[in-house]
């Protein structure tokens, strides 16, 4: 297949997948609208609780537009959404879009750091397992599956407090201190992906080693290290990277819990406070914006893996 038709085909797939992603996002918007506006029956009463006075509930009802017909409400919500406006917090009137994105940047930094850790460490562990022909690197990586992330988090906090007293453990600004504070939680959030990815890479490398091309390359007399990087790793790269990107949402879930534990002002703490205060518009904004990110990410990773994976480009 020549280069131009390859690009044409990729962009056609990209457009189709983008339409699919957009339909998912639309589903989320409508689904969250139904969940937060229609299912509760009276969203204003749910938000304010049983003890609120009828007058204040009535005020909130007209403020949220709940007195209008449901389809008009949906249309209003959709129109505001096209301008990036997700409404205001029911509790203190903060702008939902601004608040959610600010918190998302903190969680995003944690997830980014965690993703880097999981890629680098699982690669190193698989390399070690291959180089030393021993089982302990995989056994070490299994900690991530055996111990839940929050207890690993508390353990790490205790150990860091004892051995690394200079390392800040809470907060999460943009300076050196902020990144340093994210180190421990992101390492902990990476534990589960590291376990899965190390095992995956080890298995893939192991089966490539006994495949005819692996045996052949070894017969040429390549060093073990060269064999690993030039012969065994490339065929494993696509499933390995796909697993890495799929794990981002697991990293996010672990990150949300660890943020509560380490009092990092990210999405997790916002989620917690919105649940406690029954801030429905904030929750809806959290759901929609984070979903948009993950849907976009999955579209991007799909396209990325398609463009690097030669097997996907053979037209059958």
């Amino acid at each position: 297949m020549n280069r131009r038709s390859k690009i044409a085909r990729l962009s056609r797939i990209a457009a189709a997948r983008a339409a699919w992603a957009a339909s998912l996002l639309l589903g989320i918007v409508i689904g969250s609208f139904v969940l937060f506006r229609v299912v509760p029956g009276d969203a204003a009463r749910v938000a304010l609780g049983q003890n609120a006075s009828e007058a204040s509930v009535e005020r909130l009802r007209s403020e949220m537009g709940l007195d209008k017909p449901i389809l008009v409400q949906l249309a209003d919500y959709g129109r505001a959404l096209t301008h990036g406006d997700l409404g205001r917090s029911l509790i203190d009137g903060r702008n939902v879009t601004g608040e959610v994105s600010a918190r998302f940047l903190v969680t995003g930094r944690l997830a980014l750091l965690s993703a880097v850790f999981s890629l680098v460490l699982s690669y190193l562990l698989a390399l070690l397992a291959y180089k030393t022909r021993s089982v302990w690197p995989v056994a070490v990586s299994r900690i991530g599956v055996l111990v839940p992330s929050y207890s690993l988090g508390i353990l790490a906090a205790i150990l860091a407090g004892a051995f690394l007293p200079w390392l800040p453990l809470t907060g999460g600004g943009t300076g050196i201190g902020g990144w340093a504070a994210l180190c421990i939680p992101s390492l902990v959030a990476a534990a589960y992906p590291i376990a899965l990815m190390t095992i995956l890479l080890r298995d893939a490398v192991g089966s490539a080693e006994t495949a005819p091309f692996g045996v052949c390359a070894r017969a040429y007399g390549f060093s073990r290290l060269a064999l690993f990087h030039h012969v065994l790793l490339p065929p494993a790269a696509v499933p390995y990277l796909a697993a890495w990107i799929n794990q981002l949402s697991a990293i996010f879930v672990a990150g949300v819990v660890l943020e509560v534990l380490f009092t990092i002002p990210g999405t997790g703490s916002l989620l917690l406070s919105s649940v406690q205060q029954r801030d429905l518009t904030m929750l809806q904004g959290l759901l929609i914006l984070n979903s948009a990110f993950f849907i976009g990410l999955s579209w991007f990773s799909d396209m990325l893996l398609r463009s690097v994976d030669a097997r996907q480009q053979v037209h059958v």
Partner: protein
């Protein structure tokens, strides 16, 4: 030969929640005895006691049974959904039932499930088993994808085509040939999710979605124990060891299955 061992293993895992909970509740996991606070492990209390003098052995066994029980319940929900929905998507591949099912599956697969759960239970009052059933309704997406692609592959296999050519009705081929071959991959991918299910419960209880306080669950016990790690180290050790034991046995069942499949593929 290996099928009998597997049968026993599954039976053990299935009976364990019930028997552990019975054992725990005869020993009374919530009886408070203030005189016996923070007793280190000894012959009287094998796993020690907690800050309220509750026996950790009773609490750990009860919690292990409860956590495993609800986790298995949610696995059962996902397993049934994965088979039926993934199977029908594969059967009607590239037609509208497939499009609808795949759409819902990719929605559930793409979103971090904690967001869906927390949003859902802000509106609906949560409790432990309802939370796990909800997880079951979310977790089917990944195995359903595997089931779908297996059905698509199997329908083109020579032995399936041969059965159709011999005049077997479609439903009979489906039930007797295709479905038995789906059970293993679907169950395997769910089994690997079980450890995470047991562990996630404490994460959920931060958001008020876990068990309510007097009820011990494995996750709760580990979390509470870790907070008191410096004064009473034994509190976290026993439930953590129990969790590791459960997870290791589940993983070994899963990897055993994987190996037996490989062996069959080679011979």
């Amino acid at each position: 030969m290996y099928s009998r061992a597997r049968f026993v293993a599954i039976l053990l895992v299935a009976v364990m929640p019930w028997s552990l909970m019975r054992l725990g509740s005869t020993l009374d996991p919530i009886a408070i005895d203030i005189a016996q606070r923070h007793v280190a492990p000894s012959l009287g209390a094998v796993f020690g006691t907690d800050a309220l003098g509750r026996d950790m052995f009773a609490r750990t066994t009860y919690a292990a049974g409860l956590s495993l029980g609800v986790a298995l319940k949610s696995l059962a929900v996902s397993f049934a959904l994965a088979l039926t929905l993934g199977g029908s998507a594969g059967l009607f591949a590239r037609r509208w039932p497939d499009h609808i099912i795949s759409w819902v599956a990719s929605l559930l697969f793409t979103l971090p499930f904690i967001l869906i759960l927390v949003s859902l239970f802000t509106i609906v009052p949560p409790n432990l088993s309802r939370t796990y059933i909800a997880i079951g309704f979310i977790a089917w997406a990944a195995p359903a994808r595997i089931v779908r692609s297996e059905v698509v592959r199997l329908r083109r296999e020579p032995f399936v085509v041969a059965q159709r050519a011999m005049g077997w009705p479609r439903g009979r081929v489906l039930l007797l040939t295709i479905v038995p071959l789906l059970l293993r991959p679907a169950f395997l991918s769910l089994l690997l999710f079980l450890p995470e299910l047991i562990g996630i419960e404490v994460g959920l209880s931060f958001f008020g979605l876990g068990a309510s306080p007097p009820t011990p669950t494995l996750g709760r016990l580990i979390y509470d124990g870790m907070l008191e790690f410096e004064t009473a180290w034994w509190l976290a050790i026993a439930p953590a060891a129990m969790l590791a034991l459960l997870v290791t046995s589940v993983m070994s069942i899963a990897s055993d299955w994987d190996r037996s499949r490989d062996r069959r593929a080679v011979t």
